[in-house]
Amino acid sequence: MAEVKVKPEVSDPVDIENRIIELCHQFPHGITDQVIQNDMPHMEAQQRAMAINRLLSMGQLDLLRSNAGLLYRIKESQNASKMKGSDNQEKLVYQIIEDAGNKGIWSRDIRYKSNLPLTEINKILKNLESKKLIKAVKSVAASKKKVYMLYNLQPDRSVTGGAWYSDQDFEAEFVEVLNQQCFKFLQSKAEAARDSKQNPMIQRNSSFASSHEVWKYICELGISKVELSMEDIETILNTLIYDGKVEMTIIAAKEGTVGSVDGQMKLYRAISPLIQATGLVRTPCGLCPVFDDCHEGGEISPSNCIYMTEWLEF
C-alpha cells in the first residue's frame, strides 16, 4: 500500500489574503487570530502571519487590540486608496486626528499619542495638509493654538466660539446691535402697557415679554446672518440685566407651552434706573483722576484745580 502523504496544500498567498478579507467582511467588528485559524485549520501559523502582515502593510486591514487579544478589522476601501503612498507614521497620525472628531487635536497631543519626534510630526502634518486630508483650525480660546481635524468636518462650537465669533474675532458691534434691538423691543412693550391704563396687575403682566417672544422678534428682524438660538438671545438679555436696564423673573409654565424650558419660562421687562446720577459724580472731585495727589499747598490743590476752574465756567 502506498503511503498516503498528506501534502500540505500550498495555498496561494493571495488566496489566503482574500479569504481573510472575506472573513473580515463577515465580521465587520473584527476577527481574532482564533477565527482565522478555525476557518483555515490547515494553514500554518507562519503563512497566516505573513498574509496578515502583507494585508496590514497594504493598508487593507486594521490592527486593534482588545481584551481577548488582537483583532483584525477591514478598513474602509476609499481610505485604503488614499493611504497608498503614505507610510505608516502618516497613517498613525491620521488615525489620531480622526479619533479626535470635530473638536480637533493639538500638535503636542498628537506627539504624546504617537510618540514621534516633533520634526517628524511637523513634516507629516504638512504632508497631510497638502493632500487635503486634514485642516488646521485656529482656536478662539488661545489664538496661537492650532487644532487639526479632518478636512470635511465642521469645527465644534467651543473651538470657533459660536454665533458671536466670525473668523476668531469677537463681533462686538453685532452684540451691541442685538443688545439695543432687544432693549427697544422691551421698552416699547412696557410703554404700551403703561399707556393702556388698566388696572395695575394687567399692566404689569403685559409689560413682560418671554424670551421666546424676543427670539421671534429678532429672527423676524433679520439683522443676523447667523442662525441664533434661544440660548443666544438669553445671553444677550442677561447682558441687558447687567446693564441695569432690564429685570427678569421666572414663572412656572406648563410643559408644552411655547418657549418653556423644563417647566419654567423666563420673562423680561424694561425698567428705569433706581436713582439719578448721585451727588458725588456731579462735582469734579468725584471723577478726578489725580484725586489722591490733591492737597492744600501742593502742586495739585483745590485752589488751583483746573478741573474746578473749567467746571465753574459752565
Binding site: 458671536w164 469677537f170 462686538a172 452684540v175 443688545n179 403703561r194 388696572n199 395695575p200 396687575m201 404689569r204 445671553t235 444677550i236 442677561n238 447682558t239 440685566i241 447687567y242 446693564d243 441695569g244 429685570e247 423673573t249 425698567i271 428705569s272 434706573p273 433706581l274 436713582i275 439719578q276 446720577a277 448721585t278 451727588g279 458725588l280 459724580v281 456731579r282 462735582t283 472731585c285 468725584g286 471723577l287 484725586f291 490733591c294 492744600e296 490743590s301 483745590p302 485752589s303 484745580c305 474746578m308 465753574l312
Partner: protein
C-alpha cells in the same frame, strides 16, 4: 477718625464758629476725651478762651463732658455730630416743606442757637416773621407756638437732658459736673406755657430816639419776672430728620421704578410707622391693608381692590422693598428698611462706577455684584465684552479698589499658574472708601470756595462800602444824580466779576449739598449693615 474727616471738621468749625473754637474742636476730635488742663496746654490758648470755646461746643451739642471716676471732668467732641453741620440746610428745607415758613424759621433758630427755651424761640421767630410781612400786620405768638407743638409731636424737636431735681443736701458738696438725665416720656412733652403777644417789628431809625426811652422802661419792667419755662431747653432731633430723608429716598426710588401710586402707598406706610418704629429697625411694624386703605391721603380715591393689587405687586417686585408678613386683616405688609438701604447704596455705587469708568465697566460691576465670584474668562463670557477690553477694565477697577481678587490655590505651594483668581466686589469696603472720598471732596469744595472769596476780597469790601454809603444816602434823602454817581464807583467789569463770584460760590455751595446727599446714603448703609448681626 480719618484724616479727611478731621480736615472737614476743622473747616466746618472754622467757618461757623471761628478760629478758637476750631482749634479746640480739632484737638478734641483728633485726641479723644481730654481734661480741661490738657486742652489749655496743648492748644496754647488762654484758660478763659478755652472755657468759652467749650461752652460754645457744648451749647451746640458738638461736645459732651463726662465725670471721671477720679473726680476730674473730661471733654469729648463728637466728630460725627460736627459733620452734621453740613446737613443743616437740608434739615431747614425739609422743615419748610412740611411746616411752611414758620417751621423753617423755628428749625433754623434752633440749629443756629443749639439749645433754646420755647418762649425765647417763639418770640424770635415771631419777630422775624413780622419783619417780612406787610406794614401793619404782625405775627401772633399762638401761630408760632402751634407749629412748635406740631414739631414736638412729630418728634422733630426734643427736650434737652436736664439737671435732675435732687434735694440739695448741704453737707454733701455738689458734684464737679452735673449729670444730665431726661426721661423717655418727657422728651416731647411741651410745657403748658401761655405765650401771649405779637411779633415786634424792628423800629426804623427815625422812631429810635422817641421809642428808646419807652423801650428802656419796658425792659426794666419785664426783666423782673423770668420766663415761665425757664430751664426747659429744646434741641433739634437729628435722627428724626435722618429718618425722614431715608423715607424720602425710598419713596422716590419706588416712584422711579414703578409708578406714582405705588410710591404714594409706600409713603403712607412709612408715615404710619414713623413714631412706632425705631430708626434702627430693619423693618417697620406690620401694617394691615385695611389700615393702609384708611390712612391713604384724601386725594387718592382708589378702590380697595386696586390697593390690594398694588400691594401684591409691591410685595412681588424683585426690589423687595415691601414684604408680605401675613394674611390677617387683608394681608399685613412691612417695609424692608435694611434691604431698601442696601439697594439705594448699591445704586449709588453703580452710578459712581458708571460715571467714572464708563457703562461697560458698570456692566462688569453689576455682573460681579450678582454672581459674587467670577474668573476672568467667565467675566468675558457673561458680559459679552471682548477679552482685551474686559481685562483692561477689570484691572483699572482693581487698581482703584472697586473690585478685589480672591485667590484659591490648587496646590499647597500657591503657584500662580495653578491658582484660581476670582474677582469679587465687597460692598461694605467700597462704600467706606467712597465715603472717605466724599469727605475729602467736600473739604476740597469748601477750600475752593474760601479761596475764591479771598481772591476777590478787595472787590467785595469795596462793594460793601458802596452799598453802605448808598443806604445811608437814601435814608437822608439824597438826589438821584448823587446816587448814580456813587453807583458808578463800581465799574462794569467789576460788577461782572462780582456776578461771576456770586454764581461760583452758589454753585460750589449747591454741590456741597449734593455730595452730602451721597454721604447720607452711604453712611446709613454702613450703619445699617454694621448693626445687622
Amino acid at each position: 477718625m480719618t484724616q479727611a474727616e478731621i480736615k472737614l471738621c476743622s473747616l466746618l468749625l472754622q467757618e461757623h464758629f471761628g478760629e478758637i473754637v476750631e482749634k479746640i474742636g480739632t484737638f478734641l476730635v483728633r485726641t479723644g476725651a481730654q481734661p480741661l488742663r490738657i486742652i489749655v496746654t496743648e492748644t496754647g490758648l488762654l484758660l478763659d478762651q478755652v472755657k468759652k470755646g467749650l461752652c460754645v461746643l457744648i451749647q451746640h451739642n458738638l461736645a459732651t463732658y463726662q465725670l471721671q471716676k477720679r473726680g476730674g471732668v473730661e471733654y469729648e467732641a463728637q466728630c460725627e455730630r460736627v459733620l452734621r453741620i453740613l446737613r443743616y440746610p437740608r434739615y431747614i428745607y425739609s422743615a419748610k416743606t412740611l411746616y411752611g415758613d414758620t417751621g423753617e424759621l423755628l428749625v433754623e433758630e434752633l440749629l443756629l442757637n443749639g439749645k433754646m427755651t420755647m418762649s425765647a424761640v417763639v418770640r424770635k421767630v415771631a419777630d422775624r416773621l413780622t419783619e417780612t410781612m406787610e406794614d401793619g400786620k404782625t405775627m401772633d405768638y399762638s401761630d408760632v407756638s402751634g407749629t412748635f407743638v406740631r414739631l414736638a409731636d412729630t418728634h422733630f424737636i426734643q427736650r434737652c437732658p436736664l439737671v435732675p431735681d435732687t434735694p440739695q443736701n448741704p453737707e454733701v458738696p455738689p458734684p464737679a459736673a452735673p449729670t444730665l438725665v431726661i426721661d423717655e416720656k418727657e422728651m416731647y412733652v411741651v410745657p403748658r406755657v401761655n405765650l401771649v403777644g405779637k411779633g415786634k417789628r424792628r423800629r426804623s431809625c427815625e422812631e429810635e430816639e422817641d421809642g428808646e426811652r419807652k423801650v428802656k422802661k419796658q425792659k426794666q419792667g419785664e426783666s423782673s419776672e423770668p420766663p415761665p419755662d425757664d430751664g426747659i431747653y429744646w434741641q433739634v432731633n437729628i435722627d428724626r430728620f435722618h429718618q425722614l430723608f431715608r423715607d424720602q429716598g425710598i419713596v422716590s426710588a419706588v416712584a422711579s421704578r414703578m409708578d406714582q401710586t405705588s410710591s404714594e402707598i409706600v409713603r403712607t406706610m412709612l408715615r404710619m410707622s414713623e413714631v412706632t418704629t425705631s430708626s434702627s429697625a430693619p423693618h417697620t411694624q406690620p401694617l394691615s391693608s385695611h389700615e393702609i386703605f384708611r390712612s391713604l391721603p384724601a386725594g387718592y380715591n382708589i378702590t380697595k381692590q386696586v390697593l390690594d393689587q398694588y400691594l401684591t405687586l409691591l410685595a412681588d417686585d424683585p426690589l423687595e422693598f415691601v414684604g408680605k408678613s401675613g394674611d390677617s386683616g387683608g394681608g399685613t405688609f412691612t417695609v424692608n428698611l435694611h434691604k431698601a438701604l442696601v439697594s439705594l447704596a448699591t445704586a449709588t455705587l453703580e452710578s459712581i462706577v458708571e460715571e467714572r469708568f464708563g457703562s461697560r465697566c458698570a456692566r462688569i460691576f453689576r455682573l460681579l455684584l450678582r454672581k459674587k465670584h467670577l474668573e476672568q474668562k467667565q467675566v468675558e463670557d457673561f458680559a459679552m465684552i471682548p477679552a482685551k477690553e474686559a481685562k483692561e477694565m477689570l484691572y483699572k477697577m482693581l487698581s482703584e479698589n472697586f473690585v478685589s481678587l480672591q485667590e484659591i490655590p490648587k496646590t499647597p505651594d500657591h503657584a500662580p499658574s495653578r491658582t484660581f483668581y476670582l474677582y469679587t466686589v465687597n460692598l461694605l469696603s467700597v462704600a467706606r472708601m467712597l465715603l472717605h472720598r466724599c469727605y475729602k471732596s467736600v473739604a476740597n469744595l469748601m477750600e475752593r470756595r474760601q479761596y475764591e472769596t479771598k481772591e476777590n476780597k478787595r472787590l467785595l469790601e469795596k462793594s460793601q462800602r458802596v452799598e453802605a454809603i448808598l443806604a445811608s444816602m437814601q435814608a437822608t434823602g439824597a438826589e438821584d444824580t448823587q446816587l448814580q454817581e456813587i453807583e458808578e464807583m463800581i465799574t462794569a467789569p467789576e460788577r461782572q466779576q462780582l456776578e461771576t463770584l456770586k454764581c461760583n460760590v452758589n454753585k460750589i455751595d449747591a454741590s456741597e449739598n449734593q455730595v452730602d446727599e451721597t454721604i447720607f446714603v452711604l453712611e446709613s448703609f454702613i450703619k445699617s449693615t454694621m448693626r445687622k448681626p
